[in-house]
């Protein structure tokens, strides 16, 4: 962490601003083209291997999918979605992982200072040194990504291979992809690549193709080409993801009001005591030895 703290753009539970780093860096992004993904799961294997994740039992879900959802020991999961479409079957595979939101809900919900950080290059990461394993980030995340690890008592999720990216390598999943449907680079380059692919798909008859880069979280560090962009939910993606209103209300309204109320009560009690003093027994009821001399 010590080197990486030079490059922090945003940090959880920060009182005064959050930018602790002094460096800036271009925002990076993964590029996922669902239309050329063949569901080989090389990225899943690469993720486990590079990140030394513990092997867990797979679960039969009725499809090729390895597990029903992401897991603390499984940060990269190809979702195999099947749909009836215009009289035929479409098979929609999407690589599910942390989306590295520009406005991360996990970071907004996190109560532990510095436990979730966003680096200067946009990567959103859990810092196990500071994480207390409360699971609030699960509630903040619009993509249902962070998982509590029973093994470590901390939260776990895709790090976008920050340890590789920091030394100029591409993430493990990108490295392993045999079809080129996964790419890695600056956000600008990946958006340009995605837009080009979307135009191509539109020319090929997929009128609703889009590059999924939702504005509700101010864009994500994973941009996804969807041939059926009018139905992100077919791919298991939320239509309009945003940091939950409840998290904003809780952190931005209720909490500041509460802090004021708590301090206000203490100050109020002192002020009251100063103005009114103690409510003493008076007059004839007052113990004789306490009577003021007349």
């Amino acid at each position: 962490m010590s080197l990486q703290t030079l490059e922090i753009r945003r940090s959880s539970a920060s009182v005064l601003g959050s930018r602790t780093g002094i460096r800036t860096a271009p925002t990076v992004s993964k590029y996922i083209d669902t239309s050329t993904c063949i569901g080989c799961k090389a990225c899943e294997a690469a993720c486990i291997e590079w990140n030394d994740l513990r092997h867990i039992a797979t679960e039969q879900t009725g499809s090729y999918q390895t597990l029903p959802t992401l897991h603390a020991e499984y940060w990269n999961l190809i979702r195999f979605n099947e749909r009836d479409f215009e009289g035929g079957l479409i098979w929609l595979m999407r690589k599910d992982q942390c989306m590295h939101c520009d406005d991360p809900g996990c970071l907004a919900a996190c109560p532990a200072p510095g436990a979730i950080v966003q680096y200067a290059n946009g990567i959103v990461d859990v810092n196990p040194d500071q994480c207390i394993g409360c699971g609030y980030c699960e509630t903040g995340c619009p993509f249902d990504v962070p998982r509590f690890s029973q093994a470590t008592g901390k939260m776990a999720k895709c790090t976008l291979c920050v340890d590789r990216v920091s030394v100029g390598l591409e993430p493990a999943c990108i490295k392993a992809c045999p079809t080129g449907c996964l790419q890695f680079g600056t956000k600008d380059d990946m958006v340009a690549l995605g837009n080009a692919r979307v135009s191509q798909l539109k020319a090929d008859g997929f009128q609703n193709a889009v590059l999924y880069n939702p504005s509700g979280v101010n864009g994500t560090g994973v941009v996804t080409v969807l041939a059926h962009g009018d139905h992100p939910e077919w791919y298991g993606l939320p239509t309009d993801p945003h940091v939950p209103l409840s998290v904003r209300l809780w952190k931005k309204v209720l909490r500041p009001l509460g802090v004021v109320a708590v301090f206000g009560a203490v100050i109020g009690a002192f002020a009251h005591f100063t103005k009114y003093g103690p409510k003493e027994v008076r007059g004839a009821d007052r113990p004789k030895d306490n009577l003021p001399e007349a």
């Binding site: 109560p111 409360c134 509630t139 409840s246 809780w250 509460g258 802090v259 708590v262 008076r282």
Partner: protein, 233 residues
């Protein structure tokens, strides 16, 4: 045990071990030992839950975490302390419930009468063992304890419940806590500095006759048969 009366023990303290609402010499037993133990169990468990919860609530109170050895320790202790608090509050509820019926004429404690009380202008001869404010505080604490428990359980096991319910739980836990914290400040203030003679009722168990006459005139009349004098405030 009852025959042994060491010289340093007085009759009021001994009576206060097992009985309450009795007059012993110049004193009246207000809270028997069991009541006091229950109250302090509630207080202790709540204090632990409070001090471990507040640093998780906001880094403004992060310094409290150091009392327990850090935020991670707080995260481990807090739910268990909260559970212990709820159980203690449950026992306390049944201990005090029967004294806490809010009479129709006490309902305005929700508003103007509490303000009059804080200006020391409240002087109702009908006030019994507990005044309307104390009764409302009792019901608010009992209801709040349920709110904190239910919302806390949801936050403890977020994956076991629907997402929207967890989101509501965060808001409920936060709001209930804020109400608790504010009223606790006044509870402690009124029970110590603001009203001399009150704190001993929770320590020694007894109050003086003049104290009872001033704060709880109807309770005083009932126990002593005396007319309470109007105390000039």
């Amino acid at each position: 045990m009852s025959t042994a009366n060491p010289r340093h023990m007085d009759a009021a303290v001994i009576a206060a071990r097992s009985r309450e609402d009795v007059v012993v010499g110049d004193e009246i037993v207000r809270h028997r030992l069991y009541s006091r133990l229950v109250h302090w169990t509630v207080a202790l468990t709540f204090a632990v839950a409070l001090l471990t919860g507040m640093p998780i609530w906001t880094p403004v109170f992060g310094w409290m975490a150091h009392l327990f050895g850090g935020l991670t320790v707080c995260r481990v202790i807090h739910p268990w302390a909260g559970l212990a608090f709820f159980l203690a509050a449950l026992v306390q509820f049944f201990e005090w419930m029967s004294d806490m019926r809010v009479e129709p004429w006490e309902r305005d404690w929700l508003g103007p009468r509490t303000l009059r009380y804080m200006r020391y202008e409240e002087d109702d001869p009908r006030t019994g063992k507990y005044n309307g404010g104390q009764k409302l505080y009792f019901w608010a604490v009992s209801l709040g304890a349920v709110g904190l428990l239910l919302s806390g359980l949801l936050m403890w096991f977020p994956r076991a419940f629907p997402r929207w319910l967890i989101e509501v739980a965060f808001l409920v836990h936060d709001f209930t806590f804020i109400c608790f914290a504010v009223s606790l400040v006044f509870h402690i203030y009124l029970g110590t500095a603001a009203e001399p003679g009150t704190f001993r009722s929770m320590i020694r168990g007894t109050v003086t006759r003049p104290w009872a006459r001033l704060h709880h005139p109807a309770w005083y009349r009932k126990l002593t048969g005396e007319e309470s004098r109007r105390t000039g405030v």
